[in-house]
């Protein structure tokens, strides 16, 4: 569907916040769902790129603005970074399986690394806005440097306890998220927690190992190269544990991007 750029602003040297006015887009979403975005026509980049929905809002005259946070890396995000207000773009979605929340009180531990923040920030907001007042929220955010730490305002607004690590120590404590996460999880009631994580593959694998070791239920949102986003190309396979000979795959776009961390074969 054709959408127009409502805003596209820098939020740190490498990260940007894009709002796409998409009148026909469903105004509600669940954290973990994503959209596919590409130039109109046959463009360059050729394939659409997946972006987690960060927020859907009203903005000025636009009833439905789909918001994403993105890091300027390669072709697709460089293209996005050059878009001006009013220019047009194609957006499809929402796609994917969202994070699932228990139907009751809970104690959630959110873990986000780098550009894994958007769905986790959306999840924090979703938990805060739910009818269960007693839900508790701790957030662990990690990144290379202070500039890679996004979403702090969102987490505060959600009333979460926030734990920050950066690899260079420029914000929070120096190290990896798991350095703070492990001591936090070493508690008798660990199995009553639920972890939700999104971030780079290395971080997710470490979090999944920790979850397994300490038997904390853990949902992870993973990435894969995607061509379509809606189950048509079978390109976004991820290996999952299965009995029987030979590997078994599931589709990140349709069966995920959120999986139980124990399902995945981590490499």
């Amino acid at each position: 569907m054709r959408a127009g750029v409502a805003f596209n602003r820098s939020i740190s040297p490498a990260y940007r916040h894009l709002g796409l006015a998409a009148p026909g887009f469903p105004p509600a979403f669940r954290a973990g769902e994503f959209v596919m975005i590409r130039p109109t026509g046959v463009g360059d980049p050729f394939l659409p790129r997946a972006f987690s929905i960060y927020r859907i809002s009203r903005h000025g005259d636009f009833p439905v603005v789909v918001e994403i946070l993105y890091k300027v890396l390669g072709k697709g995000t460089q293209y996005l970074s050059r878009m001006n207000v009013g220019q047009e773009i194609e957006i499809l979605g929402p796609f994917g399986k969202a994070f699932s929340l228990p139907d009751g009180p809970m104690q959630a531990v959110l873990v986000a690394g780098g550009i894994g923040v958007p769905p986790i920030a959306a999840l924090a907001a979703q938990i805060r806005n739910s009818k269960f007042e007693s839900r508790k929220l701790e957030v662990f955010v990690g990144g290379k440097t202070a500039e890679d730490i996004l979403g702090l305002k969102d987490f505060e607004e959600a009333g979460a306890g926030v734990h920050i690590t950066t690899e260079d120590g420029s914000l929070g404590s120096r190290g990896l998220v798991t350095d703070l996460l492990r001591p936090f999880l070493l508690r008798p009631d660990a199995s009553r927690l639920t972890m939700y994580a999104c971030g780079p593959p290395g971080m997710l694998a470490a979090v999944a190992r920790l979850a397994e070791e300490l038997t904390v239920p853990c949902q992870v949102s993973v990435e894969a190269n995607m061509a379509c986003g809606f189950g048509a190309c079978m390109g976004c396979a991820i290996e999952v544990r299965a009995e029987g000979a030979g590997p078994s795959y599931r589709l990140v776009c349709r069966d995920g991007p959120v999986f139980d961390s124990r399902e995945i074969v981590w490499r």
Binding site: R38, V42, D44, P45, F46, L47, P48, K75, E90, L92, A224, N225, M226, A227, C228, F230, G231, A232, C233, M234, G235, C236, A237, I238, E239, G246, P247, S248, Y249
Partner: protein, 296 residues
């Protein structure tokens, strides 16, 4: 067929994936993802990667296998109006024969596309790169069914017309082409192939000139209808194939960018006909005019 626009195998799932986005009954015919005898898990990731104006894929024919297809997918597909063309791939001549027989016996199947050219499974390519093997596969399938048989040809060959003639001789009712070109891309940071399977099949607009050329060659070499595909995104792209001699076209990779791509092609063809006073799109088929030069 109400119009000459099909979906290319492997790019339209089993059609149901597209139901939320598009009126499936507007399509000329439905061609579904390749089915094999046994279920296949497919290749290790990464399976797809973008390339200039195209993409590489090495899905590895992930599919549920023929029995599950007949049980779980066919009932849905049968209810749709467009003719259903089932695409099958075997690992041997006998495999192709058995698959053809099994699928040909099902109600609601209008035709069988023989994928003798999948580049992403060991041995898959060979059937379509050797006229003799191609002949034997099609011949065996021919003896197993009365339904229209449509071998799908590989572009990774020196002489596509020779392969087309071989499958025509073996009793094919039409041919479809092109499958993907074998390609490769390297991640210069990790120095690893960008595709888990090392090589993959190149598709999308990048390959359209090769596809149009091969369709033109095949349409002149055999009397069979040609289903042309390779990089079709717009009606104009489809017209290139029709003018070059294709009787019908299939939309592939474009479905990923836009699930309504095939319907947009159909609408665009209607507009082209209206704008150019063409009563029947079939008048366009093979209408390529090659200017003669006195001096050539």
């Amino acid at each position: 067929m109400r119009n000459p626009v099909l979906t290319a195998s492997g790019t339209f799932g089993y059609a149901e994936e597209f139901e939320p986005y598009v009126d499936l009954n507007r399509l000329g015919a439905l061609v579904v993802k390749t089915i094999t005898r046994l279920p296949r898990a497919g290749n290790p990731p990464p399976r797809v990667v973008e390339t200039p104006a195209g993409m590489l894929n090495a899905i590895g024919l992930q599919n549920v296998g023929i029995e599950a297809f007949i049980r779980d997918k066919l009932p849905y597909l049968r209810r749709l109006e467009p003719p259903l063309i089932v695409n099958v791939a075997g690992e041997s001549v006998e495999d192709f024969r058995d698959l053809t027989k099994r699928i040909g016996d099902q109600a609601g199947v209008a035709g069988i596309e023989l994928n003798i050219s999948c580049p992403n499974v060991a041995g898959g390519l060979d059937f379509s790169t050797d006229p003799n093997l191609a002949y034997r596969v099609v011949k065996a399938a021919r003896e197993a069914t009365q339904l229209p048989l449509i071998p799908k040809l590989s572009p990774n060959v020196t002489d596509i017309a020779a392969i087309a003639r071989a499958v025509a001789d073996a009793g094919a009712d039409a041919v479809s082409l092109i499958n993907t070109l074998v390609g490769m891309a390297v991640d210069v940071r990790t120095r690893r192939p960008k595709i888990g399977n090392v090589t993959g099949g190149l598709s999308g607009p990048a390959i359209r000139p090769v596809a149009v050329r091969m369709v033109w060659q095949v349409a002149r070499a055999v009397r069979l209808p040609v289903i042309g595909m390779g990089g079709i995104v717009t009606a104009e792209d489809a017209l290139e194939f029709l003018i070059a001699g294709a009787t019908a076209v299939a939309v592939g990779t474009a479905n990923f960018l836009d699930p309504t791509a095939a319907v947009k092609v159909i609408e665009g063809l209607e507009r082209y006909c209206a704008a150019n006073g063409i009563l029947d799109i079939r008048q366009v088929i093979g209408s390529l005019e090659i200017p003669r030069r006195s001096d050539q």
